[in-house]
């Protein structure tokens, strides 16, 4: 992969996150002022934001199955990612790259979680009479342990933002909402840990940034290079699905979230978790 492609990819993958982060200060300001300044229950009931949030766009999804397939699309991507690179990189590879001896086990744990998320989502979508999206083919552009860990960080933070943004579409489905949130919290835990591993703050802001499906699609799309031959088209709606992702992937953006990390930051987990 060329340097240019790598740079373009990195820019693409992180743009949704950084764009949202750019709203951080205004979001914080909104916390303390907008609710009061714009006043009253009416703004909460009908207005565009609480805590600086954008309002729900009900037309983003045709129904619960579409929301679940949206989640499943991301979980497939994550599950495949960890399966592939936990297989490719040995425990010794990871330690040789400067990470602590417990990191390998954590990555295996995350892999297992993502696989469980996939299994549950597939089961439920089937049960609801929908067609679960299937695993696609991906190009994560990972070339070494460093880029593996850096990409994992991006994916987990992206996933957390995606669930934060999508939960609202399940507001009329209490059980599904609760279930989705139980996944959401675990993605946030992964993100926190991977931030630490990459030398970043585990919790960079007081309120999680919600990402819209469009933002998530823009970030994850380049990783998806094609649908598998037997892949269906999801629930047959206009919700973001693999077809759209594949189209974005066809733009030719490569994949390599290589973020320079210092040896110091890589051993962060050992510094903060000496008893782990």
């Amino acid at each position: 992969m060329s340097q240019l492609k790598a740079a373009r990819y990195h820019e693409s993958l992180t743009s949704a996150l950084t764009q949202a982060q750019a709203h951080r200060s205004s979001r914080r300001a909104a916390l303390r002022t907008s609710l009061v300044a714009t006043g009253g229950a009416a703004i909460v009931l009908t207005g565009p934001s609480v805590f600086g949030f954008r309002s729900a766009m009900a037309q983003d999804f045709a129904g619960p199955v579409d929301v679940l397939n949206y989640a499943l699309t991301l979980e497939h991507l994550e599950a495949t990612f960890y399966r592939e690179f936990n297989d490719e990189f040995s425990a010794m590879d990871i330690e040789s790259a400067g990470f602590g001896s417990n990191v390998r086990g954590r990555l295996e744990s995350i892999e297992a979680h993502e696989a469980e998320h996939v299994d549950v989502l597939v089961t439920v979508i089937d049960s609801l009479g929908g067609t679960p999206v299937t695993e696609a083919m991906y190009n994560f552009g990972v070339t070494d342990v460093d880029s593996y860990i850096a990409t994992a960080q991006v994916l987990e933070n992206l996933g957390t933002g995606a669930y934060t943004g999508a939960a609202q579409f399940l507001i009329d489905e209490d059980d599904l909402l609760t279930a989705a949130l139980t996944i959401h919290g675990v993605e946030a835990r992964h993100a926190s840990y991977l931030n630490v591993l990459n030398g970043d703050s585990p919790f960079p802001e007081a309120f999680e940034t919600a990402l819209t499906p469009a933002e998530v699609l823009a970030a994850a799309g380049p990783l998806i290079v094609s649908e598998m031959p037997d892949t269906g088209t999801g629930a047959g709606t206009d919700a973001p699905g693999l077809g759209t992702y594949a189209a974005l992937g066809a733009l030719g953006l490569g994949a390599a979230a290589v973020v320079a990390r210092t040896r110091e930051s890589r051993t962060r987990e050992e510094a903060v978790a000496v008893r782990a």
């Binding site: 006043g39 609480v50 609202q168 279930a179 959401h184 926190s192 840990y193 919790f203 999680e208």
Partner: protein
């Protein structure tokens, strides 16, 4: 559809039971006071499937004040606790992250109060607390218990929220609580993500956990 939703819950419940059988959700924080012990018991209970059916909240204001009760407790814990410790009693970098957590809880309190006021409600006030820790290690253990409990509280209450904007706000808070919980588990030597799914807890279960901390 309800039966199918139940299937989702059951599938997750089964997954979690597998996890619970291998470990306690809050790890082995031996220095936990009674509240933490209660947390470990409550979080191991198979309460998940019947949780959503429980309508413990009268309206969104009730949910918001419930959340505020917990955020008051968390903020007071970090504010008062960190005032008694210098950075050098913790491992490198930990103190700064604890300060960040304190500030997050402060922001959560402020935002919840503003929202409750805007809705015409009366925000609950901060209470007096006794967290029972004796030293920095005990402080960190209680911190982990509080954060993990907070995640379960939000996850258990979210389905009772009727307003989309409030649900979004709760979702943006619970993710940060989960990030805190992950980090605090890590620095306590526990698994940052001990299960594939969080454990939602009912209002009664949460109050049983948090209640012992509230002394006045």
């Amino acid at each position: 559809m309800p039966a199918l939703h139940t299937l989702f819950m059951n599938a997750i419940s089964e997954e979690r039971n597998l996890q619970v059988s291998r470990r306690t959700l809050l790890g082995t924080g031996s220095k936990l006071a009674i509240g933490g012990t209660a947390a470990m018991v409550a979080m191991s209970s198979p309460a998940f499937a019947r949780l959503v059916a429980a309508q413990a909240f009268t309206d969104d204001l009730d949910v918001l004040n419930y959340a505020l009760t917990l955020e008051h407790l968390e903020y007071a814990f970090y504010r008062d606790g960190l005032a008694g410790y210098s950075a050098d009693v913790f491992d490198d970098g930990v103190y700064d992250n604890l300060i960040d957590i304190r500030d997050h809880e402060d922001a959560h309190v402020d935002a919840l109060i503003s929202t409750i006021n805007d809705l015409g409600g009366t925000p609950v006030e901060e209470a007096e607390y006794d967290f029972g820790y004796q030293n920095a290690a005990g402080f960190l253990a209680v911190a982990a218990a509080l954060e993990n409990t907070g995640v379960s509280a939000y996850d258990g209450a979210a389905a009772s929220i009727e307003n989309v904007a409030i649900l979004n706000a709760a979702g943006s808070i619970v993710a940060v609580e989960a990030r805190h919980a992950s980090y605090l588990n890590l620095i306590n030597g526990d698994d940052p993500f001990p299960a594939a799914f969080e454990t939602p807890l009912s209002r009664d279960e949460i109050l049983a956990i948090a209640g012992p901390f509230i002394v006045g």
